[in-house]
Structure formats: C-alpha cells, structure tokens
C-alpha cells in the first residue's frame, strides 16, 4: 500500500491533526490550537509520519499549518526532535519537510523561521 491515511490522526482539546500519503508525499495537517494537552499526540503522530516516510521512501513531507491558530513551545519541541531525527539519517534516506504557513500569523513567521535554522537544507517554509 502506498497511499492512505497514516496512523496517529487525532482530534483532542482544541486541535485536529491528520496525515495522509499519496504517491509523492506525505501531508500532515493541523487545525486549531496546540498546547501541552496534546503534546503526546503530536509526538506520536510525527513518529508515525517519520516511520511511514522511511518505509515508503518519500522525498518530502508537507506540514500544513495554515489553519493552525497557535502552537506552544512544548508542542514545538516535537518538531525540533523530528527534524533532528531526519538530520541524523544517512543522506539518501533523508526527506525534506515543507511547512505551508500563514504569513499573517506572526507566531508562525517567528517559530518557523527559527525552526528552519536547525536544518536549512531539509526544511522549507512556504507562505
């Protein structure tokens, strides 16, 4: 199976998150607001996404933040951990992470700008 929903999708507190893959990429979508209450689920979802990306040898994972109103630092840590994990892979196993963002949201500009610096060759931010 190369397409379909990825395990770990959830709707809890004020956040809805889901992930699906097609022939080319995996897309993870976040809607609402993410705080400490959903930290564990965000971590788990990103772990599933990472495992699936490796299994299916995807070259790109798209993370859609456009409908994400806010994410706190605890949840953001999960993204840092994920990026560092991808960075630690052999070069041919690495995949790109592209964030779709809303430039109108100040916190996204700030946070994603800083996140990109962890791995400029792996992380992109589209406004």
């Amino acid at each position: 199976m190369t397409e379909g929903r990825i395990q770990g999708a959830f709707q809890a507190a004020e956040l809805a998150a889901e992930a699906a893959s097609d022939d080319e990429r995996i897309t993870v979508t976040f809607k609402g607001s993410a705080d400490t209450r959903v930290m564990a689920q965000v971590n788990e979802l990103l772990t599933h996404v990472h495992d699936r990306a490796l299994e299916q040898a995807r070259r790109e994972v798209v993370v859609d933040f456009r409908d994400l109103e806010f994410m706190n630092s605890s949840c953001f840590k999960a993204f840092v951990t994920w990026i560092v994990r991808v960075q630690g892979l052999a070069e041919d196993a690495q995949y790109k992470i592209r964030f779709l963002s809303d430039r109108g949201k100040h916190w996204q500009r700030r946070s994603l700008g800083a996140l990109t610096c962890f791995a400029v060759d792996l992380v992109e931010v589209d406004a």
């Binding site: 705080d35 400490t36 209450r37 930290m39 564990a40 971590n43 806010f70 706190n72 630092s73 605890s74 953001f76 840590k77 840092v80 951990t81 560092v84 960075q87 100040h106 916190w107 700030r110 946070s111 700008g113 800083a114 996140l115 990109t116 610096c117 962890f118 791995a119 400029v120 060759d121 792996l122």
Partner: protein
C-alpha cells in the same frame, strides 16, 4: 548585547576524553536549564530554579569558551541575555520568547552533540541568532505586563551520551575481578603468591585510572583560554601552572572545572589591571596550583592584580540593599559578599563577567560535594582563591582485626557495631571467602557484629581497633570484599551483609 561575531567553525580537535566529558556534563546542564526555565515560566519555579538557570548557563558559556567552541559560547551568550531579560520581568514571558528559548536549548544540544571534525552542515547558527535577537528585541519593546503563559511541564528527553572511558558498571566489574585476584594471592604460596600480588597491584592501579583524569592538560587549557581572554581585553598576562601530576575522579574534575572557568575569568576581568594601570608591575601573572592533600584536592588560583576593592564592594552592597547603610562589617564579611548570588562589584555587566553569577556558581558547586572555598586579598597585590574538594570514596572508617585462621588483616565497615561474644559458633570470615587456614590461633576472640538486624559471630585473633582506611581498589557495595590500606598494611574489607547473601546465610 555584546557578542562575539566570529563565524561558527568546525568542532576543534580536542582530546576525546575532554570533549566527551564536556558533552556529558553540558547535556546534563541543558536538562537542568530546560527544567528550570519550564518551571519558572509556568509560575511553579522557585528562587533556586532562577539561580540554577543563571549559574548553569554561565558555566556552559565559560566551558565553551575554554574549549574554543565559539558557536556554543555565542548562543549561550544570547540565551543568557534572554534569561536576564526574563529575570527582570519575573519570567512573565511572551509565548514567542518561550518558543525561541526552548528551541535555543535544543539548538545548543545539537551543537554540543556534534563530534570532532564535523562541520556545521545544514545548521544556520547565524540565522538562528538573528531570530533570537529579533524576538528578544520585540519583547523588550513591549510593555512588561504580559501575563505568564501556563504551558505545563516539560517532557523529559532521553539523554544520549557517550561513555568517557568505562561505564561505572564496567569499572565495578573490573574492580570485583581485581579483588578476586587478591583473594587468589591469599590462597597461593611462595613465588606464585608474590606474582599474584604484583598482578593485583597493577590491575588495581589500572582500574583506578579508568575513572581518573590528569589535571595538568585541563588546567593548561583553562589558562590558555584565560590568556586569550586577556588579549581580547587588551591586557598582558603570564600564566603559570603547577599540578604536580595530580589525577582526579571525573566528579572532582567537574567541580574544579567550574571553579577554574569562573575564577580565571574573574581574575582576568576584575583582577589583572590594564597595562597602563600596572605601572612598574609588568605583565599580570595568573598562577594555578593543584595538590592532593590527604583526602582532599586543593586548587589555588592566584593573581597579582588590584585585589578586591573592599570599599567599592561595601558601597555596592549598600546601594543594592544587601547590607544596611553604615553597618559594621569585617573585611572578611565584605569579601564573602562576592559569593552571594547576583552580587557584583561591576555596575554594568559585560559578556565576560559582572552579573554576580560566577563566584556564586563556584561556591554552590563546591559545597554540593562537601568542599569549601576561601579567598584572601591584598589591595594592589592581588587575590588568592583556595578551593578544597574531597576526593570522593577515597577513605572509609573501619574496624580492623586479624583473622583467627590465618595471619590476614581483615576489616569491616565502622557502621557495624562490634561487641565481645561469650557464646559459641563464631566462625572466621576467611572461611566464607574460601581462604585456607594457616597458623590459626589457638584461642580466638569471639566477636558479635551487629547492623540493622544483621548479626554475625566472628572469630578473630585479636581485638578490633577503629581506623581510617584508604580504599585501594573500591568495589561496589554489593561486592563481598574490597582491598584497603590501613596505615602501611593492607587489609581485606569484608562486607558481612553481601557475604551472608552470597553464602545463603541469614
């Protein structure tokens, strides 16, 4: 903000043991920094968390400078600026600040984990620093009444560290096997006995060295960093080191490392004067001496600079309300103020010192391991700091006596209560250790050993005496015995509780 703008470089090729230790200690520091930060911004932190945060960061920055890790030093400096800004606002921080601080801690972890020779591929430190600056600037321009966010506790990360030379488990196993060699020597006779003893002694030394680090190169490295700092500050300085080949355990090294970082930075920044003010004195001199003295290691850091400005320190303490105006204070009490958290004789901090963190960090670290620090100062002649740190696990108190069945000196820990016994059934400890009988005494002394419900009847050749023993080849407390030295003679320290379990006796 005053920051070194030199570009990040590859990790310098330092001795692997030094780098490994730096990684281990610094990653632990980062965990403490992270936990303290999370507690403080969640509103559940204490004053001690604030102190931990500033001390650990300051020490990390100092360590990084000493090791020439410019990128870690640079980012630590930015984080320190952010923390002091947060401190001034009682940790009422905006979410942006929390996110960037959290990321900065992770970024530091990533930089610290890099191995020697690795380049900063893919990492954009300069870009990250700009982000930190932008967030800090934006935050400081906002009114300070932003409510503190309640972001909850922080998730503990799994720490990935590399072993320094051998893990504690490995050392314990090797020490136990080395002790077995000693027992074999006690079972053997003639030349074999001597050879086995020599083998034991060699192994014991090797086991000891596994957990030890030579201080010489470490001190040299700190002095080189101090010299470089002096050059940056436009000062001339000569350095002298005398470590006498001292080797110390890693924990002791860690404490001495913290002391060296802060004492040398203070000496260079506060003590040694600029050349124009050293009329007739020539270049400044920094001396570091280390000696093992009994059960302690003593570190002396001396400079021939201006000495502590007693009047200035007093005025500063009065100005910030640390002491009442006009209070009667001895010179010693004023000098002691230098170790107070947040106290500095410098009115405006620089990126080198002046935030009142360094000396307080040294004292906290030294006292944590039961050590002490003292300072003596002479105006215009310089200051001398003496740090004393106990050599952990170096000595133990014991009862020592001779075995009843062989001329072997035995010892048990002083925590055991020993009383003469009138009943029968006493056995010599050497029996449990399968040591052969040689020249047994005809009328042994029966002893009762008591400790928290454990009771053992032991036959001895003489009455026990209390003594302080040097642990020659320390073994884990679960190991039945260990070789110690009492004065000039060697003795076998037996742990009756472990022996009991081993022999299935209760």
């Amino acid at each position: 903000m005053s920051v070194d703008q030199s570009p990040p470089q590859t990790v310098p090729d330092l001795p692997p043991q030094v780098m490994a230790r730096f990684r281990l200690v610094s990653l632990e520091r980062l965990e403490r920094i992270d936990a303290a930060w999370q507690a403080l911004i969640a509103g559940s932190g204490s004053e001690a968390d604030g102190e931990t945060l500033t001390r650990e960061l300051h020490t990390l920055k100092g360590d990084a400078r000493v090791l020439g890790l410019g990128d870690v030093g640079m980012l630590s400096q930015r984080v320190e600026d952010l923390v002091f800004a947060a401190l001034r606002r009682r940790f009422q921080v905006h979410e942006d600040v929390d996110i960037v601080m959290t990321m900065a801690i992770q970024f530091l972890g990533m930089l610290i984990r890099r191995k020697a020779g690795m380049v900063s591929g893919g990492i954009d430190l300069e870009g990250f620093l700009k982000q930190v600056d932008a967030v800090t600037l934006e935050w400081l321009q906002q009114p300070s009444s932003i409510p503190a966010p309640n972001t909850g506790g922080s998730a503990r990360r799994v720490r990935t560290v590399e072993p320094v030379s051998a893990t504690p488990d490995t050392r314990d196993r090797l020490a136990s096997l080395t002790t077995d060699v000693y027992l074999e020597h006690l079972r053997a006779t003639g030349a074999t006995r001597d050879r086995l003893h020599a083998t034991f002694a060699g192994l014991a030394r090797a086991v000891e060295e596994l957990g030890e680090v030579a201080l010489g190169p470490v001190v040299e490295q700190h002095l080189a960093a101090a010299k470089a700092l002096a050059r940056e500050l436009g000062k001339e300085e000569e350095t002298r080191a005398d470590t006498g080949g001292t080797r110390v355990k890693e924990r002791v090294l860690e404490v001495l490392g913290v002391a060296l970082v802060h004492l040398l930075r203070n000496a260079v920044d506060h003590g040694i004067e600029a050349p124009a003010r050293r009329a007739g004195k020539g270049p400044g001199t920094l001396r570091v001496a280390v000696r093992e003295r009994g059960s302690e290691v003593e570190l002396r850091v001396e400079d021939d600079g201006r000495g502590v400005d007693i009047a200035g320190a007093r005025a500063q303490a009065e100005a910030i309300g640390l002491v009442p105006l006009g209070a009667t204070l001895t010179e010693e009490a004023i000098v002691d103020l230098l170790f107070r958290d947040g106290f500095s004789t410098r009115e405006v901090p620089t990126d080198v010192s002046g935030r009142g963190v360094g000396l307080s960090a040294v004292r906290a670290e030294v006292e944590k391991v039961g050590g002490s620090i003292e300072v003596s100062t002479r105006p215009g002649r310089g200051s001398r700091f003496i740090v004393r740190v106990p050599l952990a696990s170096h000595r133990c108190d014991v009862h020592v006596f001779t075995a009843a069945r062989a001329p072997i000196r035995l010892a048990v820990g002083a925590e055991w209560e020993i009383a003469p016994s009138v009943g029968g059934g006493a056995r010599c400890l050497t029996e449990w250790l399968d040591l052969p009988a040689r020249n047994p005494v005809k009328t042994p002394v029966a002893l009762e050993l008591l400790l928290a419900g454990d009771r053992l009847l032991v036959a001895a050749a003489d009455t026990p005496t209390r003594a302080s023993a040097v642990r020659w080849c320390p073994t884990a407390s679960s190991c039945a015995c260990e070789v110690v030295r009492v004065g000039d003679e060697e003795a076998l320290l037996v742990r009756p509780a472990s022996l009991h379990e081993r022999a299935g006796l209760r």
